[in-house]
């Protein structure tokens, strides 16, 4: 499943720690980057790769918010609604997105293109309101800017 280069990357990550277990988070990030989510087969694969029990891998996947154990939309819009963003009107951000895409937070569009979730503070409070789109931070959002972002995603 991993290419030779990815296997080298796993070996490098492994060399940073005295135990194999410690490498699991980075290897899971690598796996999710490639497949978009981590299926049970994926957990088994990572467990075999690191020679650790699959229960440990499962335990980690379910503890941390960023690992998905089921597929999500191609573009994941994560809107921060914590206090600093709330004060800078994250309500309007959510409303604009929901109206445009026809989905509420926690939902995915029927064609699997967009998933929208409400998330906790992403460390961007000085440029609120904000969201992250997959890995990228989009800050100082306005309705116009949000629509432009969605247009660009649809065109990509």
């Amino acid at each position: 499943m991993f290419t030779e280069e990815e296997h080298r990357k796993v070996q490098e990550i492994r060399s940073h720690y005295p135990t194999a277990q410690a490498a699991v988070m980075s290897v899971l990030h690598l796996y999710q980057d490639k497949y978009g989510y981590i299926s049970f087969e994926g957990m088994q694969y990572v467990a075999e790769l690191l020679e650790i029990p699959v229960e440990h891998v499962l335990g980690v996947v379910t503890f941390y918010e960023m690992y998905h154990d089921h597929p999500i939309g191609k573009f994941h819009l994560q809107v921060c609604t914590n206090v600093s963003c709330l004060l800078r009107d994250s309500d309007t951000v959510l409303e604009t997105i929901s109206k445009r895409l026809g989905i509420a937070p926690g939902e995915t569009t029927d064609d699997g293109t967009f998933t929208v979730t409400e998330v906790e503070c992403l460390g961007s409070c000085g440029t609120a309101p904000m969201m992250s789109v997959n890995k990228e931070y989009k800050e100082n959002l306005t309705p116009e800017k949000i629509n432009e972002i969605i247009d660009a995603l649809l065109a990509s």
Binding site: H16, Y17, P18, T19, Q21, A22, A23, V24, M25, S26, L28, H29, H56, G59, V60, F63, Y64, E65, M66, Y67, T81, N82, V83, S84, L86, L87, R88, E120, C121, L122, G123, S124, C125, G126, T127, A128, S132, K135, E136, Y137
Partner: protein, 430 residues
């Protein structure tokens, strides 16, 4: 050396030099000279210098950094570790991110010096998973530092030293609790991020059961300056008992939100009006949370004369925390703010201790009931008693972090909560 006062203060953590993130620019501005100086003296001397500087941790608890380092055992066969805490997930905090982006080599230089001082041969820089972009920036800077021989195998060639340290970035995966130091260590070990019961403390029994020191990113970034200019020089910057530069992140209803580097002891009102451009639409301030969402909120009429340092903020009834200043204008709905903050702690509680797990959930239910127009005046006392039951009865300080905003928001904004209930609820009458 020029005496730094509030008015002529020159930033040293984020000095705004173009391209400072590049190693050659950093070197040109004196970068990695502190490391050379440090390696020429003993680890004990470095710890003494840092003690003399008065540096206190910037991760929230203001613990004296030199003292923390001195807890590391000298005579042990076990490997020792340094963890640099860049989890930065406290709502209202966005300062460490600026160091990753604009001055990564300062952090790396501080990490190497600290490792030498405590005798660590491996250091992990823990960065929250969502900061993937900043993880890449740090990894790039680290690769350059390795290449130049300031870190790793080539250190003996560049620095003529036997001392060698490897630094690795460990990326988190979305869990506020992993900023708590024992949870952070479990996370580095590749486990679920449950906090550990203390004692034993990390200096005795930390990563993989070995002596470990955990410091915040900003704390470590002060170290090269202390070594370069001396503890006495550092000690006269800012507030007497809590000296040094402070990265203050201002968010909420101000005209110019952002991170401002100022000496500790700067007036909170100066931070808001002089640096952050004042309140949007010239409105009055209803509330300021001075140190990230876990710290007790201050009413607008409580901030006059309050300074951004541990002592002044404690006297005012709050704490410096992560120096994330959240400003709310007169139109802010405090019931909604407290409900949102409480939801955060409920979601992020790891669930290990009953008072934290149940208490945050219960408090959230009561607050949501009030927001639905089904509140009772007694609910306010109930909320305070829930907070009192959480505080001090849990494994880690997330419990306190959840309890403080509840208790202090209710007590300091009680009129508004009562009025809210009276106006919206048929059940209001006690």
């Amino acid at each position: 050396m020029m005496v730094q006062t509030m008015d002529n203060y020159q930033p040293i953590l984020l000095p705004g030099i173009p391209d400072l993130h590049k190693i050659n620019v950093y070197e040109k501005h004196g970068g990695y000279q502190a490391l050379r100086k440090a390696l020429a003296i003993t680890p004990e001397d470095i710890i003494e210098e840092v003690k003399r500087s008065g540096l206190r941790g910037r991760g929230g608890a203001c613990f004296p950094t030199g003292l923390k380092w001195s807890f590391m055992p000298r005579d042990t066969d076990k490997p020792k570790y340094l963890c640099v805490n860049g989890d930065e997930s406290e709502p209202g905090s966005f300062k460490d991110r600026q160091i990753f982006e604009f001055n990564p080599h300062l952090l790396i230089e501080g990490t190497v010096i600290t490792s030498y001082a405590i005798g660590a041969r491996v250091a992990y820089i823990y960065i929250r998973g969502e900061y993937e972009h900043w993880v890449r920036l740090m990894e790039k800077a680290l690769a350059d530092a390795y290449e130049s021989g300031y870190v790793g195998e080539k250190m003996s060639g560049t620095l003529g030293t036997d001392f060698k340290v490897d630094i690795y970035v460990h990326r988190g995966a979305g869990a506020y609790i992993c900023g708590e130091e024992s949870s952070l260590m479990n996370s580095i070990e590749g486990k679920r991020g449950y906090p550990r019961v203390k004692p034993p403390f990390p200096a005795q029994n930390g990563l993989w059961g070995c002596p470990t020191t955990i410091n915040n990113v900003e704390t470590i970034s002060n170290v090269p300056h202390i070594i370069r200019n001396g503890g006495d020089w550092y000690n006269q910057i800012g507030a007497e008992k809590h000296p040094g530069p402070l990265l203050i992140g201002v968010s909420g209803h101000v005209n110019k939100p952002g991170v401002y580097e100022l000496p500790t002891g700067v007036l909170l009102t100066d931070v808001i009006y002089k640096y952050a451009g004042g309140v949007r639409g010239d409105k009055k301030i209803k509330c300021v949370i001075p140190g990230g969402s876990s710290m007790p909120p201050l009413r607008g009429d409580q901030i006059e004369g309050v300074r951004m340092d541990a002592e002044s903020l404690r006297e005012a009834g709050s704490a410096v925390g992560t120096a994330g200043v959240i400003v709310m204008d007169e139109d802010t709905d405090m019931v909604r703010v407290l409900t949102r903050i409480t939801k955060f702690y409920k979601v992020e509680s790891c669930g290990q201790c009953t008072p934290c797990r149940e208490g945050t959930g219960w408090a959230l239910k009561v607050l949501e009931r009030i927001r639905r127009g089904e509140g009772r005046i007694e609910d306010l006392d109930l909320l305070v008693s829930i907070a009192n039951n959480i505080e001090g009865n849990t494994v880690c300080a997330l419990g306190d972090a959840a309890a403080w905003p509840i208790r202090h928001t209710i007590t300091r904004f009680r009129d508004e909560f009562e009025e809210y209930i009276r106006k919206t609820s048929k059940l209001a009458a006690a």
